[in-house]
């Protein structure tokens, strides 16, 4: 079982192509890191996988555990086990974090069933403690007025609560302070399991020192141009992306 992306092409509606034929397979149980210069298409890839309406898929296919991901609606994909921790989590005024998470969890239950509120709050508080979040965040509107780092933590909290099988972390490390980075990484590591995989998008080795990837990919101009092991991370940290730029020319 795995997430298989084949020859994926996508563009902004009526705009230029951003993804130019991505091929990628993430088997269950593995952590794949995706690196690449600014604007290479990392966030676009993650949003396209979730079904963001701004993008149009012009070719290719995505299979998630044998299902045709691209034919599913955004919410179906999530309930089927896909999760994206956004590079820029969105503020949702007036909707409390707790109600938001409850709605998300309830959507996963058989019709008509409700979650046990006591258990829910217990679990929520436990997870927040793990992430070093103040429990007052349960009553606050989703991400509204949160600091950059608080938003990132809140997205990770959602991941922990929703327990996806395929989790994408888009620059979750950016905006986190040194301690938060460790706490969040510990949380992610605790979730690593043979039945779950991660796609970790980052610019920095520091995060990958905590969350050791099994495979490292380099995305450049909408294509995977390199795949390797941790040595690729070390190389990029030392030399940047000139090697892929030079190769392309």
């Amino acid at each position: 079982m795995s997430l298989i992306i084949r020859n994926l092409h996508a563009r902004v509606k009526d705009g230029a192509e951003i993804l130019n034929g991505i091929n990628l397979e993430i088997p269950k149980g593995e952590v794949h890191a995706i690196m690449g210069p600014n604007g290479s298409g990392k966030s676009t890839l993650s949003k396209v996988l979730c079904g963001h309406p701004a993008y149009e898929i012009t070719a290719g296919s995505v299979e998630m555990d044998g299902q045709d991901l691209l034919s599913m609606s955004v919410d179906e994909r999530s309930r089927a086990g896909l999760f994206l921790a956004f590079q820029y989590p969105v503020e949702v005024p007036g909707v409390s974090n707790a109600n938001f998470l409850r709605a998300a969890l309830e959507a996963r239950l058989p019709k008509g069933e409700e979650i046990n509120v006591v258990d829910f709050y217990k679990q929520l508080r436990g997870r927040m403690k793990e992430l070093g979040m103040d429990t007052k965040f349960t009553a606050r509107a989703v991400n509204e007025g949160f600091s950059g780092g608080e938003k990132k933590r809140n997205d990770v909290l959602q991941m922990m609560m929703l327990e996806p099988t395929y989790a994408i972390l888009d620059e979750t490390d950016s905006g986190l302070d040194v301690d938060a980075l460790r706490v969040v990484s510990d949380g992610v590591n605790a979730m690593r399991a043979p039945f779950r995989s991660f796609m970790v998008i980052t610019h920095y080795k520091r995060l990958l020192d905590y969350i050791r990837p099994d495979v490292v990919h380099v995305l450049y101009k909408g294509k995977i141009v390199r795949t390797g092991g941790f040595e690729l991370v070390d190389y990029i940290e030392a030399h940047g992306f000139d090697f892929v730029r030079n190769e392309e020319e």
Partner: protein, 375 residues
Amino acid sequence: MDFPQNMSMEEAFALAEAEAKLQQALNESRERFDQAALPDRLNEDWRFGRPHRHAAALAELFDTPSCGEARVLRAGECAVPVSAEDDDLRQTEMLMPTIGSDALLGLHLQQFGAGYALYIEEDTKEPIVLEYSTDSFYAPSTYIMVAPGVKAEIEERHTGNAAESALFATRNIHVAEGAQLRVSLRSSGFARHMSITNIQNLGGRVSHLTQHSSNAWTREETVAEIYAAGEGTETRLYSANRLTGSEVLDQHTRQVHHVGGAASDLLYKNVVDDSATAVFAGNIYVAPGAHHTDAYQSNRNMLLSEKATIHSLPGLEILADKVRCSHGSASAPMDEEQLFYLLSRGIPRQEALQLVAEGFLADATNRFYAAETND
């Protein structure tokens, strides 16, 4: 005139006098009705509110007596039923400012004599809950008088019980110096709902919230008059409504600063779906000499359908100096990114739409409930 058998001369005179007074009041309101024009589309205050269809139909309802039920559901020891003989209350109603509905007020006065007067002289420990309900047509009046330094919370509910239910309420709210009042009006289930509210702030803090739901047509006129300055006085007006189907909501507000150095704030929010229409016309009036006034007014609308209509007309009339006033209006569809965020967490579309829409309105209701009523 028939007098009861064993009535003294004085009693008979008093009764005759009262009846004469009542007759005079009726004549005056009749005159008022005859002189004022009925709402029509050429009237600036009614332009978008479908007066031809609704105001006229409402006026016709006054041919039959108003009929409904007024109840105090909770904590209403201070509530007194309004009677047709109460001349002071009738006079108060006669003096109410309207925003284009003088003629309709004249009709209301002719049926005067239903509703409740609340004389609040002690802090309310729990909210007073009033309800007016009808399955035909009802024309109640509410009077709320909060004594100096007293803290009160009131919920007024208007419930329509039949498809053709109509209600036309007048509401006079007096907030004395140092008093604190949080008062809401919720209406639902009417073919036609109309309210004229006059808030007189004499130096207290007042927060007012209206929420109209499931009314085919709603007309709201809310006038807040501020008569005292100072740190401790504040007038806040909120409204939060969700319109569906072909509902029409026609809201008109005025923040009248008679004296300087006072603050008022208004936030009216609507979520407008289907082919519904929301009209907002607000005005901040700062009287000559009312310097250092601090007044805000904002109308925000979320449009959920291409067929939904918004008319937003915020306005200012400032006749004083050193005034801080701002008004604004914004109407936009639901933010795609917000919706996507909820969907991406597995929340089904209908529910996600509902949550984002409620969240948008919560801004107004939260501010109402957060409004200070302490210390």
